[in-house]
Structure formats: structure tokens, C-alpha cells
Amino acid sequence: MSNKKTFFEPIIHNNPVTIQILGICSALAVTTQLKPSLVMGIAVTVIIAMSSLIVSLIRSFIPKKIRIIVEMTIIATMVILVDQILRAYMFDVSKQLSVFVGLIITNCIVLGRLEGFALINKPIPSILDGIGNGIGYSLILVVVGAGREILGAGTLMGYSVIPQSLYNAGYENNGLMVLAPGAFILLGLIVWLQRAVTGHYEEE
């Protein structure tokens, strides 16, 4: 597979969230607003890319028997590192993301990419695959986050986007969008839309 394909495939055609339906838990939890979604997307991208690179570099030294443990150790280290940096430089966002930064450790996309790709590929394709999957994940988070913030709170990045005249005309923010079901509905619509366009279907 060419590097270009490795990088672009997970963004749309093999998107980890909408095609493989991985990482749903965090996609629902942090997407009430655009800003935390964006930060979460960046954090996950950095973590997948870094862990993929490291695992790929040491792949021929990792004993088969303990490879999952080694992968988890590397992921956990990266996650805690990112968490510490967020706490130091983006305190408000880290408060908002709270436990979900730590829970990136359990995001199946990360372990899935290490097991399925980095362990058997060279460093450059591995890092591209990591970044591609991270961007694919972030893309969905950003779309869901923006949708939920606009429909649920009438704002985007904290700024009002829905004109006051619309509220005066009787428009109301949709409270359901702020809760988890709102994320489910939006995510479901995106999955449906994508499959309708690309014609992808689950293999029996």
C-alpha cells in the first residue's frame, strides 16, 4: 500500500469511527461543544502517531508474548504526558475533558492501530497511518461537536451564531443535543449519510 493511501484511507473510506465504529464512547462524551472536541481530536491524533512511531521502531525487539502489555505501557505513557501538558497549558479545556483524556488509553482506535499496523510496518507508514486515523477520528468529533453546539446551545466556539431575531421568532435551543442521545442521533446520521454515499456495507 502506498504511503499516500495509508494516510488518506482512514480519513474517509476506512474512517475508524463511522466505518469501523470504534472510539464511540469518547466521541459521545466530549462532543457537547466544538472546542473540547477539537482538543480531544488533536490529543488522540498526537497519541496515535507517537505510539505508532515508537512501537514501529522497536517492533522487532518486542517479545510476542507481552506485546499487548508493551503497547499499553507506551500508550499510557503518551496519554499521561498529554494530560500533564494540557493541565499546564490549557487548564480550562483539561478541566472540561476531565477523565476523558485519561480514557484515551482505552480508546480502541489507538490499540487497534498499534496491533493492526505499527507492529508489522516500518516507522514512516506507521506514523502516517496513525495521523490519518487520528484525523479521521477528529473529523467526526469536530462535525458532531459543531452540530451539537449549534443546535444545543446556539453558539460555536463560545460565540453566538444564531441571530437573536430567530429566537424572537420562537426558535429554541434543542436541549436533547447537549445530552448523550443527541450525539448518538448525529453520529447515526453521519454514518448513514456516509454509507449511502460510498455504498459501504458490513460483510456478513
Partner: protein, 250 residues
């Protein structure tokens, strides 16, 4: 060789040591910055409780300036006397959580006051206690009559996202504004948190607010911690209230 137990053992030891080293150095170098963030966040919440925070977009320096210009602080003991702290220790350094573990006579209780020249405009005390999953930390501000609630904030909690975590939401906190903590016979009653909106005809409506639906345990936690922490300051507040009455009589 790759499959030998010794190799596995050596390999995982090296990985662990490198990871541990990386994390400890990160924790070491970022510690100061993180602590400053936590301190500024606390001061920001004191300002929020006493209604001085105009918006959420203030820079750290603006928050510190606003705090230094308007807030004075001191500590009282369990007899309600103001205590001088040993030099080098700030009121902000007093950790209410640690004080709770000391014997009662040694405990110190921080008080933050919002002042304009010599006139006290608000009293603010730290509050903390268990909710459903976590300890919740916040501040309670009272008007100068030491009876009416001016504001309440929570700045750290790990309650259920979307349910209990609503204690951080403004529409829950705003329900407390204007409620009272002393009844007509001068008993400390604190605020009761009900499951439903208090009925407008209730004789106790001044002391009642509605809890968060779907988060009864968290709401009960808030109710308990308010009573617990107000009781700590009861003697001090009683003394102040007596002074207020005497002033009025003069």
C-alpha cells in the same frame, strides 16, 4: 533467545524504566505551571462566588489583579476568633480538607471577604464534601447580613457527566442566590435540597432549592456539605451577627 523469559523480563524492565523516567521528568517540570493554574482557578471561583467576575474570558493576570484589589482574607478558629498565621503561611495555603482531619481545637477556617475600603460587601468560605463518586470543592458567598446567600460555585468534582456534574452549571448555582441560612429563631438551618421545585406556598421556601433531577445522591451531597461547612463557621458568624444587631441598636 527472543522467547526466553530472561529476555522478556529485561525488555519490559527497560521499557518501564524509560516510561517512568519520562513521566517523572514531565511531572517535575510542569508542576509549577500546573499549581499556578489550580491557584488562579480557585481565586477565579472566589471572585465568581462574590459576583466580581464579569466574564469567563479574563486572563490569569487580570484575575489575580481583581482578586488582590478586592479580596481580603484571614483565618478563624473553632471559637470564632481571628487567628494570626505564622509568617510565611498564606490563608490560601490552608487546605480545608486537611484541617478536617485535625483535632477540633487546632482547626483553622479560612474566610475571604470582599471589601470596598472598610465596608464588607460579602463573606466567602470554602465548601467541600462527598457527592456520589467524588469530593466536590467549591465556595459559598454570603451577603454582609451573614444570612442571605450571594453565590455558590463548584470548581472541582468528578460526578456523573451530564447529571451530577451539573453542580458546576450556572442554572443550578443560581437557584441558591437569595436563599437564607438562619431561621426566625436564629438556628442555623442551612439550605435544604428537595427533589422537586419547592412549592411557592411552602413556609420554608427561603431555605429550600430544587436538586438536580437524576442526581439525587449528588444533590444530597451538596446539602450535607453546606450544613457541615456552615456549622464550622457557626460560632464566628453568630458573633458577627450579634455585632450587627448591636450596631443597629446604636
Amino acid at each position: 533467545m527472543r522467547n526466553s523469559n530472561l529476555y522478556t523480563f529485561i525488555f519490559i524492565s527497560i521499557v518501564t524504566i524509560i516510561c517512568a523516567g519520562l513521566l517523572s521528568s514531565a511531572a517535575f517540570y510542569l508542576k509549577d505551571k500546573q499549581q499556578t493554574n489550580v491557584e488562579v482557578d480557585r481565586k477565579k471561583n472566589i471572585l465568581k462566588a462574590v459576583k466580581l467576575l464579569e466574564n469567563n474570558k479574563m486572563s490569569q493576570q487580570e484575575i489575580l489583579d481583581l482578586y488582590n484589589q478586592n479580596i481580603e482574607n484571614y483565618v478563624v478558629n473553632n471559637l470564632g476568633e481571628i487567628i494570626n498565621l505564622p509568617e510565611g503561611i498564606l490563608v490560601e495555603d490552608i487546605d480545608p480538607e486537611k484541617e478536617d482531619t485535625k483535632p477540633e481545637s487546632d482547626r483553622l477556617f479560612p474566610v475571604y471577604v470582599k471589601k470596598s475600603r472598610t465596608v464588607v460587601l460579602a463573606y466567602c468560605i470554602p465548601i467541600l464534601g462527598k457527592g456520589l463518586w467524588s469530593t466536590m470543592y467549591g465556595y459559598l458567598a454570603l451577603e454582609p447580613d451573614l444570612n442571605t446567600i450571594l453565590g455558590i460555585t463548584f470548581y472541582k468534582q468528578a460526578e456523573t457527566p451530564g447529571l451530577g456534574s451539573e453542580v458546576e452549571a450556572e442554572n443550578f448555582q443560581n437557584k441558591f442566590i437569595g436563599k437564607q441560612i438562619w431561621d426566625d429563631e436564629d438556628n442555623l438551618v442551612s439550605v435544604k435540597i428537595l427533589k422537586l421545585e419547592p412549592s411557592p406556598n411552602s413556609p420554608n421556601i427561603m431555605y429550600e432549592v430544587a436538586g438536580i433531577s437524576g442526581a439525587t445522591k449528588t444533590s444530597d451531597g451538596v446539602m450535607n456539605l453546606l450544613l457541615k461547612d456552615l456549622t464550622k463557621y457557626e460560632t464566628y458568624f453568630r458573633n458577627l451577627r450579634k455585632e450587627l444587631v448591636q450596631k443597629e441598636e446604636i
